[in-house]
């Protein structure tokens, strides 16, 4: 298996799955090459992300990285959330095979877009 135990755990038992009906912002992004999709809901409280949930359709790496990134967001300062990189996510999940690096981009794209939604810079 080319994936780490941790990544497989997030794929098998994804955290933060679902929707937030009264979300402050929602983003939907997709990867034009492989067709993976992620939808991200966040609730914001002051400078913090109070809650976050996701749904995704895609490969195991896309689902795991989406779940992991969403979990990271919960309780995080918005300013810190802006700094999340695909490398940070990939590393925290024990690395990704070269052909799967682009999957973690899905999550960072969703984060960028969701933050832009309610607080455009």
């Amino acid at each position: 298996m080319a994936y780490s135990e941790k990544l497989l755990d997030y794929f098998q038992n994804p955290r933060c799955v679902g929707e937030i009906p009264e979300a402050d912002a929602v983003a939907e992004v997709s990867n034009p090459v492989c067709g993976d999709v992620m939808k991200l809901w966040v609730k914001v409280d002051g400078g913090h992300i109070q809650d976050a949930k996701f749904k995704a359709q895609g490969c195991s790496a896309a689902i795991a990285t989406s779940s992991f990134a969403t979990e990271m967001l919960v309780g995080m300062e918005i300013e810190r959330a802006r700094l999340i990189t695909k490398e940070e996510i990939a590393e925290a999940l024990g690395g990704l095979p070269a052909s799967k690096i682009h999957c973690s981009v899905l999550a960072t794209d969703a984060i960028k877009q969701v933050l832009r939604e309610f607080q455009p810079r």
Binding site: M1, Y3, L8, F11, Q12, P14, V17, E28, V33, C34, G35, D36, V37, M38, K39, K55, A56, Q57, G58, C59, S60, A62, I63, S99, H102
Partner: protein, 387 residues
């Protein structure tokens, strides 16, 4: 963990009898078949036997079988060999849009070298229309190369009909028979092919051995030059153990083809019917076409193929999505695109391929675990709404 292998179009387990035959080569009969002493001559005679088994599997003559390192080399040899030997006559090649990469990329490479290639489309069920091959013929056509059975969706092409067209037009005809051989009856005389590729590891033989059928009189430039092995058609010290294993596998495939494949078809049908009744929003690709008895390729809406494969793998079940060879790539399968699927649809495809060694228990296990897996992934999808 229980392990179920339903990825036989990627490769097959090696039969114990094949392993035993290879063992005797590796431990005792290690001679170089080119050597004139006992060690060499013994190895040579074993290769002669293997050649006979492979020839009989497809109704060729022994002198028409050239051993290669596998299906990919056989395809390259056939296509590049004719392209080179016939270039004075012309540079037009006819192929289909659903060929294996070994044919597809080789034809694309020839395009870069100044050859012209006509890519014949297929129906929504994944079948080439023979008459469109006829229409594509030109005075400078030197080769038609159309696969016998497709590796991803298992559809069987009208090779006999195309063979007649090629014969009438006096154009060389190659067919990639890697997936058909050992699964359906193959008779190169009836098919009227001039060249036909086979691979050992798809019929319970070892990887690294294959063969190209080269009809007597076919003018083919060698791909590998050197010591003049294989009657000057393919140089290189023979992979004796691999060839002997291939021969044994070919012998067994021929002996039990009819009964094995009847049983395999039954299991495949059981699998397909059960999955269709237990999982909504799925379609079987190529369902209405003539198909290999062992293959089913389903399209699962609201889920992605790799996620399905990994989920099944975690339950011990080996299957594939798209073609095994392109697993590193993110592009949607060119075969599914050719039968009219959108990239999104293509990404949700799953290929389950059985073999003579597949048991009813294997199939029942998959029927048991797959619906839950699909359900779980769909619950994660932002698009899926339960009905």
């Amino acid at each position: 963990m229980r392990r179920v292998y339903l990825d036989s179009n990627a490769t097959t387990p090696v039969r114990p009898e094949v392993v035993a035959a290879m063992m005797s080569v590796l431990t005792e009969h290690f001679g170089n078949p080119s050597s004139i002493h006992w060690f060499g001559q013994h190895a040579k005679s074993m290769i002669d036997d293997a050649r006979q088994h492979v020839a009989r599997l497809i109704n060729a003559e022994v002198s028409e079988i050239v051993f290669t390192s596998g299906g990919t080399e056989a395809d390259n040899f056939a296509i590049r060999g004719i392209a080179e030997s016939q270039k004075a006559k012309g540079r037009h090649i006819i192929t289909s849009k659903i060929e294996h990469h070994a044919v597809l990329h080789t034809c694309q490479d020839l395009e870069k070298q100044g050859y012209e290639v006509t890519w014949i489309p297929v129906s929504r069920d994944g079948v080439v229309d023979a008459s469109s091959v006829r229409r594509a013929l030109r005075p400078d056509t030197i080769l038609i190369t159309i696969m016998h059975a497709n590796n991803e969706i298992g559809t069987v092409q009208p090779i006999e009909e195309i063979g007649r067209i090629a014969e009438e037009a006096d154009v060389y005809f190659h067919s990639d028979g890697v997936q058909s051989t050992g699964k359906i009856q193959v008779d190169v005389r009836k098919l009227k092919v001039d060249l036909y590729s086979i691979s050992s590891h798809k019929i319970h033989g070892p990887k690294g051995a294959g063969a190209l059928f080269v009809r007597k009189g076919t003018i083919l430039k060698p791909l590998l030059t050197g010591g003049g092995h294989e009657r000057n058609r393919r140089s290189g010290t023979e992979n004796v153990a691999g060839i002997i294993g291939f021969g044994q596998a070919a012998k067994m495939a021929r002996e039990s083809l009819t009964s094995d494949m009847a049983r395999v078809a039954e299991l495949r049908d059981l699998l397909e019917t059960a999955l269709k009744s237990r999982i909504e929003f799925i379609q079987v690709n190529g369902e209405n076409a003539p198909r290999l008895p062992n293959t089913t390729n389903i399209m699962v809406d609201y889920a992605e193929g790799e996620g399905l494969v990994i989920s099944l793998d975690l339950k011990g079940v080996a299957v594939s999505t798209g073609s095994a060879c392109s697993s590193g790539s993110m592009e949607p399968s060119h075969v599914l695109t050719a039968i009219g699927k959108t990239p999104d649809e293509a990404h949700g495809s799953l290929r389950l391929s059985l073999s003579a060694l597949t048991t009813r228990e294997d199939v029942e296990y998959v029927i048991e675990v797959l619906p839950g897996i699909v359900e779980r992934l769909r619950d994660l999808s932002p698009y899926y709404k339960k009905v």
